[in-house]
């Protein structure tokens, strides 16, 4: 499989989007589903083939495909190019693989929705955009993909745009992302001007061999900080996380794909991609990236404890797990971070799809207080959710355990961060158990007849159950740790860490303690009071209030000012005045229209005389 196939990985879903967008109405539900699912499946198969090729020929690393010369200003050239290296391959596989499963799931989930073709158009477009992001060979192409996924996110969050909550959530996501993007752009400019190139391999080369005098250079540090700020926006870290919980207004498969498995990982991917830059930027990684990640992880986990909307629990959980990934990157565990990215994609998507099955069966009900007793009526979904929750909590031998363990191992060196990570692990297990208990256990008392999902939704769930259960073994040393063997070379060949049995045991103990605590506190579907702590958690430690005061109110005030004072009184008045002038002029001239023929004749004569005089006197 030559490099020619790389653009097709992007082109297939894009073509799917175009076909469904333009002719979706004529294709009918079946046609639309086929086009959408097959295009993603095609992309997945191509990715598999390309990856196999990559691994098979270690000499010829990295296929780069130049599509066309995009920007050429003097010596500065930026081609539109795609690259297929190990990191790109991994993400492409995750995006297309999990993406395909979610497409199939959506066929069942959105079966009743009237905007069927629009949904799949957007979904395919998203996959294509994400692939552009992941396969970009330079920062600018990556940024194009970055913006496009932001757009798709907006479109899909606000898919049911007639609902004001959904429309507002879409807006919020876009605006908050914009803040991050602004920093991102500045970062790109800074990087470009400093290094003279935006190509990843060029950057790696420049910064690799000793990096000249660039290591720890303040401009480099600034660039790294700016780029990380952009990553925080997309990956919902403190303080730009606020859009993600609201984004749950979108259809659940969208939440699964975009806001769990793929788009939100773009920030993590960015840091991974620019690893040489971050590594050379001195204190940024250990002093900014890791602490932000750790703090976000703990923060989000605590807030997840008091959420009543199941999807919001999962949203905060995602924020928390993303924090873990950034923590891993911050302490130098690149492979660990991406390993967790992969396993997280599996079990988080599984959790979301299971939640979706519940919503589908109960006509949109997702409030934990109203659920319960579903273990009997929806056993398959229950199984899926349990596997997902256990994986999330880090219970061996499920996938989450393996990746989380690695992160903890990597963080072992920096005491405070390790402690925070461990604490978060406890809270994670706690809220995961809480969610499971409240949603599925106890006696059934929800109206309607809940049932397990139909085939279209069940098979992807099954697939994800398997992946969540055994996916972790990809990192098992005694199996040759294929994952690390694959990705390691991207970081200069790191081996899978030797397991420190003491630390492993501690981690498992903490996780188990969390599960037990959750079980005890919520047994019988109770909700412990927790008093003032609860109130603090529900208010998200004051973050939302801070935003309200510092951003929202001033923004609205400004908008009000501009619309009232400037627009209404200023601009409108000017326009009206102009119209007034025209009307007055017209009225005045109107008096000349007397309808009197003789007067007209007189006018004619006067004009004729003037002309004549001019002609004669000339």
């Amino acid at each position: 499989m030559g490099a020619w196939a790389v653009p097709w990985v992007v082109a297939l879903p894009l073509a799917g989007a175009l076909v469904n967008g333009l002719w979706g109405g004529r294709l009918g539900r079946r046609g639309v589903s086929l086009v959408a699912c097959l295009s993603v499946l095609g992309a997945f198969l191509l990715s598999v083939a390309l990856t196999r090729d990559l691994v098979a020929s270690p000499g010829a690393e990295d296929r780069t495909v130049r599509l066309f010369e995009w920007i050429a200003v003097g010596d500065f050239r930026i081609p539109a190019a795609l690259v297929w290296d190990r990191l790109a391959a991994l993400l492409a596989l995750v995006v297309t693989g999990v993406g395909f499963l979610i497409h199939v799931y959506s066929v069942g989930y959105m079966a009743e929705d009237p905007d069927y073709s629009r949904y799949f158009t957007y979904l395919n477009l998203f996959v294509a955009s994400m692939l552009v992001l992941v396969l970009g060979a330079n920062l600018l192409v990556l940024f194009v993909g970055w913006e496009l996924v932001g757009l798709c996110s907006y479109l899909l969050i606000g898919f049911w745009f007639e609902r004001p909550a959904a429309a507002a959530a879409g807006r919020k996501a876009f605006v908050v992302n914009r803040v991050g993007d602004a920093a991102f752009v500045l970062g790109i400019l800074s990087t470009g001007s400093l290094l003279g190139t935006l190509d990843f391999r060029e950057m790696a080369r420049l910064l690799g061999e000793g990096g000249g005098g660039l290591r720890g250079h303040p401009a480099l540090v600034t660039s790294a900080l700016l780029l990380f700020a952009g990553a925080t926006g997309k990956s919902a870290q403190l303080p730009l996380y606020v859009w993600l919980p609201d984004a749950m207004e979108g259809p659940t498969p969208v939440s699964a794909l975009i806001h769990a498995a793929t788009m939100v990982t773009a920030g993590v991917f960015l840091v991974g991609r620019l690893w040489p830059l971050f590594e050379a930027a001195g204190p940024v990684l250990p002093w900014v990236v890791a602490p932000v990640g750790a703090a976000t992880a703990l923060f989000a986990a605590t807030v997840a404890v008091v959420q009543y909307d199941l999807k919001r629990v999962l949203a905060y959980s995602t924020i928390s797990q993303l924090g873990y990934m950034f923590l891993a990157l911050g302490v130098g565990g690149g492979t660990a971070a991406f390993f967790h990215l992969t396993t997280h994609a599996f079990f988080k998507a599984l959790l979301f799809l299971a939640a979706g099955s519940v919503m589908h069966a109960l006509h949109g009900q997702i409030d934990l207080r109203r659920l319960g007793g579903l273990w009997k009526s929806m056993p398959f979904t229950f199984l899926g959710f349990v596997v997902g929750a256990a994986s999330l909590s880090g219970i061996p031998p499920l996938s989450g355990f393996w990746s989380k363990e690695e992160i903890l191992h990597a963080a072992h060196g920096s005491g405070a961060l390790w402690l925070v990570a461990l604490g978060t692990s406890f809270v994670t297990a706690y809220y995961a158990t809480r969610a499971t208990v409240l949603a599925f256990l106890g006696d059934p008392h929800s109206p309607g007849r809940p049932h397990d999902p139909p085939a279209a939704m069940a098979w992807p769930l099954a697939g994800l159950v398997v992946l969540s259960a055994v996916g972790g073994f990809l990192g098992a040393k005694w199996l040759g740790a294929p994952f690390h063997a694959f990705l390691g070379p991207a970081w200069g060949g790191h081996e899978a860490p030797a397991p420190d049995l003491g630390a492993v045991a501690l981690a498992v103990a903490v996780a188990t303690a969390g599960v037990v605590a959750g079980w005890l506190a919520h047994r019988g579907r109770r909700e412990p009071q927790l008093g003032p702590v609860r109130r603090a958690l529900e208010a998200q430690w004051g973050v939302e209030a801070l935003y309200e005061a510092a951003v929202v109110r001033p923004g609205q005030a400004l908008a009000h000012l501009l619309s009232e004072a400037v627009d209404l009184r200023g601009v409108d008045r000017a326009a009206s005045a102009l119209a007034e002038v025209v009307v007055r002029a017209g009225s005045t001239i109107r008096t000349w229209q007397t309808g009197n023929v003789r007067q007209y004749a007189a006018g004619l004569l006067a004009g004729a005389v003037v002309l004549f005089a001019y002609w004669v006197l000339r």
């Binding site: 009197n596 003789r598 007189a602 004569l605 005389v609 004549f612 002609w615």
Partner: protein, 172 residues
């Protein structure tokens, strides 16, 4: 001799023109017009335009002025200028403008090189005009005749009484 003829005709035409404009009764205006036309016919004769002079008398004096008189009789046109005109100062505007116009036109006219050339024998005779009419000016001639037909049809249609007009319409 010629000068005398010119002077007389000129005076007559001016007097007639003034009469057209000033006369209170429309019939008087029509008759003044007749005087003007006659004087002009004489002037044409002095300008070696015999055919045109005759035509002037036959068509203009003989047909058009008669038509005017018919219509005046038909409409019993009295002197209706009893109501004050909405355009009061019209005269005050018109006369000065008119004078300006006359001065302008005259000065322009006097600037033309007016050295009369020798004209051949038979210039302006019926034969000469006829030759031109059916030669160089054949197309305008045909168009003019078409125009006359249009005029006749228009007159017939416009002139027919409205009742018979509508009756004809309703029958369709």
């Amino acid at each position: 001799m010629e000068v005398l003829l010119f002077a007389l005709s000129a005076v007559l035409s001016l007097a007639g023109g003034l009469g057209v404009v000033v006369a209170r009764q429309p019939v008087h205006s029509a008759l003044s017009l007749l005087v003007v036309l006659g004087a002009l016919a004489v002037l044409y004769l002095t300008l070696a335009a015999e055919f045109l002079a005759v035509l002037q008398v036959i068509v203009y004096a003989g047909a058009i002025v008669v038509l005017f008189l018919f219509v005046i009789m038909l409409l019993h046109a009295r002197t209706p200028e009893t109501r004050p005109s909405p355009v009061g100062a019209q005269a005050a505007v018109a006369v000065p403008l008119g004078l300006a116009l006359w001065v302008g036109l005259s000065s322009a006219a006097l600037q033309l090189p007016a050295r009369a050339s020798r004209v051949p024998e038979g210039f302006g005779s019926t034969e000469a005009v006829g030759r031109e009419l059916f030669g160089t000016f054949l197309l305008p001639f045909e168009v003019a005749s078409l125009l006359l037909v249009v005029g006749i049809v228009a007159a017939v249609v416009l002139g027919s009484s409205p009742s018979s007009y509508e009756r004809r319409g309703r029958e369709r």
